[in-house]
Assembly symmetry: C3
Homo-oligomer: 672 residues x 3
């Protein structure tokens, strides 16, 4: 493995979260020495340290933080600075208990955990502004700081799935709903509140939809969408300050979850940051999330948190097999990241998360993964130029993901046990992955211009961000749209259409949906146009094709003889309407065939457990391959390539070890 020295603060970054506030300052030197040994070049710092930065109201102390940042910088280790607003000091909540999050059960949050202040509380916002301003003034021009992270893992806290239910939030929700609907009659009409005499007479009557009450799904969806907006507004408030005072890019580290709108969140941020704690058996699913994160901005993202081994709080949550750290650390890089940071550098010696895995232990010893970390660091260095100068190739294929859909399905699962994120990944995205079809995962608001095939399974409303009009135009201009099941079946207000089961799908395809049946407690068989029979899943629309081409037909049950999937040319493009979610193999076949017609080919001939990501830049081209199932894998190269991690040259068939990684740069001069 070559060992090219990196330029100071040059990507790709490998690092960790570092909490100098929890350790003696004298220990910084020892830590830095160990970081260097581990090959690290970035530390994330500051995110929870408000009480150290402002131990008493208005008394600021950044000396210790400067010391840490400076010493890190002197050692060529960059700093990502976090604003500490996730954990207000006790003097703040003691003086202003009204800033505390209130549960839907009326209980006021306590000091001692995280995320317990209300994002909408003005007093809290003011205190946040003060500390963020101070911090920005201190580090906004610091050359050792390469970026900002606002707060930490912003998300409406579970708390019975209702977020903050304080009076401020309640009032603000009423006001924002009023702004949206203008008058209460419009809301009543949109939500159909005549049902059960739910009709409101003024916006001030809108309740907090408590979890102990059987509430209207439109109200619930609106409430949680408001919660999402609240955290976005909260973030923008800080971003504005940072943008004014700092030179570095600004972001916020988010979770692999869908209830908060990533697209809206990033409109006013510079860099997308994501935390990942997938367990070993679920590792493959993180590909979906990175494909979504990458697609947010035309700029490499940061994997701000992941674990070298087990996540954990007061228990260590599962040992991982050798190689897991390697695959887990390379997946984001392959998929468009320029930074990977472990949580955390040194295990906490106290507190709620003292059993979480780390790079080194509380007593400064490398964990059993330390050699893997060093190998990863060396690999990053060895392939730095390739990583920095290439980007993931846009294949022309996209899959829709929507936080609004997430909320709608949360409050209207439609079928027992349907969970949007899980089903989208397990029953749809998995087939794409196994077929080596590389996709962007985009929000409905995203532009469709660069795609030739777009998939929209489980997308209940097309009325988000004007998608209905835009997708129609895009299809007519030549796009291929794979849609359904359970798509275009809700208005923007989470109600049904009344003219048809769908908003536009019947009109666009000419088909007629005769019956609809849930895939519970059983599934139904269908025969595909290739003559093979297999079962659908989740949901069953029984369609009369009426001029469209039936791709699959039900062979049993009340839908027998009706189409389960069909195709219709529309303008220069076409719609593939899925009335049910096909079995995995058949879906793979369908996707390969449809993509191929649109000129989209698999990234490689590769094992289904191997992620292969084509990368291309002005001066270089190649593939990054990561095995994510802890099994052997293989890949067929169409061009001779060199693995930058080993320097070995490959042609044709390549074998990859379990959790193996290859950075295959195509040899120059070979005709494409």
């Amino acid at each position: 493995m070559s060992s090219v020295p990196m330029k100071r603060f040059e990507a790709p970054y490998l690092g960790a979260a570092y909490y100098p506030e929890d350790w003696p300052l004298e220990q910084i030197g020892e830590d830095i020495a160990l970081m260097k040994q581990a090959g690290m070049n970035v530390m994330r710092i500051g995110e929870f340290a408000w009480s150290r930065m402002e131990p008493r109201e208005g008394k600021f102390d950044f000396d210790w933080l400067h010391l840490a940042v400076d010493k890190l910088g002197q050692a060529d280790i960059a700093t990502i600075m976090g604003t500490p607003t996730c954990t207000p000091p006790i003097w703040l909540v003691e003086k202003h208990p009204e800033v505390l999050v209130v549960g839907d059960n009326g209980r006021i949050s306590q000091h001692g955990a995280r995320r317990h202040a209300c994002p909408n509380n003005r007093m809290y916002r003011d205190y946040c502004a003060k500390i963020v301003t101070k911090l920005a003034e201190e580090f906004g021009k610091d050359e050792n700081v390469i970026g900002w992270q606002i707060d930490n893992e912003l998300y409406p806290e579970p708390r019975n799935g209702r977020g903050c239910c304080c009076p401020v939030c309640h009032k603000k929700f009423q006001v924002s709903t009023c702004k949206k609907f203008s008058n209460i009659e419009a809301l009543n009409k949109a939500w159909g509140t005549d049902l059960w005499s739910q009709t409101y007479q003024s916006f001030s009557q809108l309740p907090i939809p408590r979890s102990d009450t059987w509430h209207h799904p439109s109200l619930l969806t609106e409430w949680m969408d408001f919660q999402s907006d609240s955290y976005i507004e909260f973030t923008e408030h800080q971003a504005e300050i940072l943008h004014k005072l700092c030179g570095q890019p600004v972001g916020t580290d988010m979770m692999c979850l869908g209830g908060i709108d990533y697209y809206k969140m990033h409109r006013n941020l510079d860099i997308v940051q994501v935390n990942n704690y997938h367990q070993e058996s679920d590792l493959w699913k993180v590909v979906f999330w990175y494909d979504m994160i990458r697609s947010q901005k035309d700029r490499p993202f940061w994997n701000t948190e992941t674990s070298t081994c087990w996540p954990g709080a007061t228990t260590a949550n599962k040992y991982k097999s050798p190689g897991f750290c390697r695959a887990n650390s390379w997946l984001p890089i392959a998929l468009g990241a320029e930074a990977v940071l472990y949580w955390l550098w040194r295990s906490h010696w106290s507190g709620q998360e003292l059993m979480h895995g780390s790079v080194i232990s509380s007593c400064g010893r490398g964990l059993h993964t330390i050699d893997e970390v060093k190998e990863i660091a060396a690999g990053f260095r060895a392939s730095a130029e390739f990583i920095n100068e290439t980007r993931c190739v846009n294949s022309g294929l996209a899959v829709h993901f929507s936080s609004l859909a997430w909320l709608m399905f949360e409050f209207q699962p439609l079928v027992n046990d349907f969970r949007y994120g899980e089903k989208l990944i397990e029953s749809f995205y998995r087939s794409l992955m196994e077929a080596s079809l590389r996709a962007d995962v985009i929000y409905p608001a995203a532009s469709l211009d660069s795609y030739r095939v777009v998939c929209s399974p489980f997308l209940p409303t097309l009325d988000e961000a004007g998608l209905r009009e835009r997708i129609e135009a895009w299809i007519k201009a030549g796009g291929t749209w794979i849609v359904g099941p359970l798509s275009d079946n809700r208005t923007i207000n989470a109600t049904k259409f009344t003219h048809a089961p769908f908003g536009s799908l019947e009109q666009w395809t000419g088909a007629y949906c005769k019956y609809q049946i849930p895939g519970d407690p059983r599934d139904f068989a269908l025969r595909w146009s290739d003559g093979i029979e297999s079962a659908g899943s989740i949901w069953y629309d029984g369609l009369e094709a009426r001029g469209a081409e039936a791709l699959a037909t039900y062979t049993e049950g009340p839908l027998k003889g009706l189409a389960a999937a069909l195709r219709r040319k529309v303008g220069k493009g076409q719609i593939i309407l899925l009335g049910t979610m096909p079995g995995r193999e058949h879906l793979k076949k369908l996707l390969l065939s449809v993509c191929s017609q649109a000129g989209i080919e698999p990234a490689a001939q590769a094992s289904p457990n191997l992620l292969v990501v084509p990368r291309k830049g002005k001066a270089a081209e190649g593939l990054i391959a990561v095995e994510h199932g802890n099994c052997p894998a293989s890949l067929t190269l169409t061009r001779p390539a060199t693995d930058l991690l080993t320097g070995r040259k490959y042609t044709g068939n390549v074998e990859i070890q379990p959790y193996g990684v290859m950075v295959l740069k195509y040899d120059p001069g070979f005709p494409i």
Copy 2:
């Protein structure tokens, strides 16, 4: 299938719940046309529409409702009118938040769901009186309205199993308990409150028995019995108004649940209404409930709600096999109903239940069950005369069911996992059904006069409605009483007897209960007098026969050699005392033998999965047979008969399809 036109508003009725308030009024015509196509002749209407009837306090609007009723009537579709008191408008609860139900956790209910107003609150009662009076004035003489439904599914809401815990209920409970016991010493003595120093000094100290406290079972039983009484009083309050102003019969639609007293509820109502949402595997159990409902009044009942396919709220709760709708719709008719109404006519387009199955979809398309519905409608028409002119034959056999027993077992299950309703049906009633023994299910307060055999399994107290004295007299006059296990083991105050394990059973049978053992974690074997050994279940009384005839004897365990079941002649009658619940086959054998001796024979030689109901009237006689297990079945006819659904004649052995139905009218002139 013959197609006799029905007279206007003549039973049997097939219809659905219709919510014109949730749809454009212009759509009524389209709906009515579809109803006619589906063969419907009744709609249930109004039950939740308070905010449409009285959009502002004192401002009433019934125009839309008259329009709907009139148009339905013009199309020969009758209306059942519901009072809308289940869902008070927001102006009411906003003006009088004190009417809201309070949970046992102190939380006040919210607007936006159902059943959130306190049945005992005087203010709420007054508002209810106003809207019900108005509604009665408008429709009490309307010839299109054939009956009234008060409120909807009245039941102490689960809310941790404690009903409304508001101060009004609390006070009223103390007053009613005072009225019952006269003085606190009597209560202390009756409940044995010296235990754990629970002794009360005044009725004002009686607490709401919260679910987070380990409360006295006598207190819990009393509290929930009070809750039951509260809803009954609430209903009677409306019934009084309706009886004064209206010409039509009055009822309230209830659930298949036992915690509210059906017998007391119907003392002042005219027609029994019941809702049924049994899933496919449990369909057979509904027979028990219909047998109970029929036995409440000497008048055909109404199946006010059932589903064509899946029930559901925001998920569709399980597809049903073809034919389910048929069997499910005919079961009530066979068992004494004159009306079957689906919930709901047109699927809701919004709100909490928008995924519930229906007759037509939100966009006006028949569901996949539409042809079954039409076939059922045709069947009802074809057999209308037979249904209307015959009644279920009283076989002379009855089974006791008690809401007080339900409450006692809820708070004293006696054996792990014992649930009264489930066990009564699964371990006792099932054997009756499989033996084709037709029974009435009666409350302890019901007259015993028309029965020759009465079964009282799991009936802890005989002191309800003077049953102890009445049953003794009835036995002495010749009745056969099958009693136990777990019967006559509690006083009316839910305490044990202290002179013996039973109140009277030892005295009446002469037997002596030596030991009692729970059927947990194992069951014990017994040998029946026929020499066959099988296991008992649930509970084990070990009896010394002492002159009674042992029917079964334990063959193992600490009870070995003691009797498990015995018979004793008492006067002209006899008691069969069960010390354990026999295995299903043995119970069947026992019941057949005991009934036969009392001159009660099976309704037919039929498969266990076939319900056969003998029907008899002045001019006609026959059987209605419904297959309820989705399996083939057969039946041996003792007289030639014609299936009114097909016009085909049958003699001897008859095969019935899965979920098949036959209305077999005996051919005239054949000697009985």
Copy 3:
């Protein structure tokens, strides 16, 4: 079986809990006659009868109680008197609702259950003092009373695992924490509160650590340790009164649970009392608890409660096989008790526990276990002299148990699903038992003087009661210490050490712990020095021996080649450090070998399902053997002995029936 008449009130005692307050006084005679028939010579009385003793504030009535005690005494039945403070009368809580326990959810407890008054409330303490003083004055010199039981089953009520959260407790917690740490900076430093800005500025800011908040484990541990102290202080308050006014020994009946400190509790009590309700499959586990209870005081303990058959509340909780009552009643006697009392004498006829098993039923009939009870009584009489004149032999082996460890693991399980009590018994104590190695179970505060081998698995802190210094001195003086896994890994403040994974273990053994891995989701194989390979469990320390003797070495995974267990001579003694919990067979082998080296041999060659307890006194010596697994067992005698229960003589191999018991007194004159 011989039937020697016992002296009045002479141990061993067999009896039950008797509640004359719940029955007509006229019935006492009948009860006593039945007690005599059953062979009973002690009754426990009074514990919940406050409302009968003081029906109105300041109005006392002890006549009924004197009547009961006197009549019992006249029948040679001793009384154990309970203070009734577990169940305050309603007049008390009505007058002073502030005495009621408050849940961590803010809900105030209700009258009607037990343990609902706050142990720290001064008003409640005053009322307790009054009733206890009165009771002591009445019965403190009563010759029929042989001892006192304070309150009942004192334990911080589950209530979400937080005990009483009332303002008095909150304040007192802050004060006691202040007292412990002196200044808030010390607390912040000890707990590491810089993490997440948790830093406190004054003790008055310390919150009640509610269960709905993700709190710091050091705070949680401190809070629950304070709860434990509160109940101990509450008990001492009564003990002081009783000691002043009474001549009899004082104790309190406790549960087989670890969250309250038994050692501290008994510093000021005279007699250890314990309640046991183990189910049949868990019966063997009670040996651990009795070994702990016996080790608290150099005086025979009382098994104050156990069941003849099923425990239960409003359900009867599981029938037991014949013989269970025998084995269950003899286990405490074998292990050092002088009294066994069933709960309860006569089944309650009302209330929350009316289905609990008993000696006689509510109607005065012996339960199916009555003959077993009589046989046990006869056995106690037959072997009274042997029981009274011998004590369990101290083998020189002890196992540490710590309530503080219990709390630490409750709030820091370290590995998924780790529960301290269960794991200690199932993965460690079980091997000791199966090897017939008899141990004392001692608290860290206990003296080590009488032991040659001490085992400290799962003992996170050595800083409780100065154990660190004491154990080191004890080892150097010749002790053998078996320690780990998961020992010496936490400071007294429930935080990690930062200089090493352990406080002293590396220093003492010379070993170096390279890696630590949780035993989740898989376990790792190790090879023992005997060449046999087996899997460890729970936790994996990978140790470099560095001069210590490796006893077992990992053969796979990241720890391959590192030591899993090692031995190091220290002074005249040695340390056996376990890095993982060995498999059951290997642990047994290790324990036998280590003990043997220290001169500790198994109590007998016996089946693993047979408890054999060597007993020795001035004039007698022998074994008590109890089969606890309901299987046949055998035992090899090294000396001729006579079974005092049968009078039969045995030598060599002895067969014991399932649930069989033998009291084997060695024949005199045989050389040891």
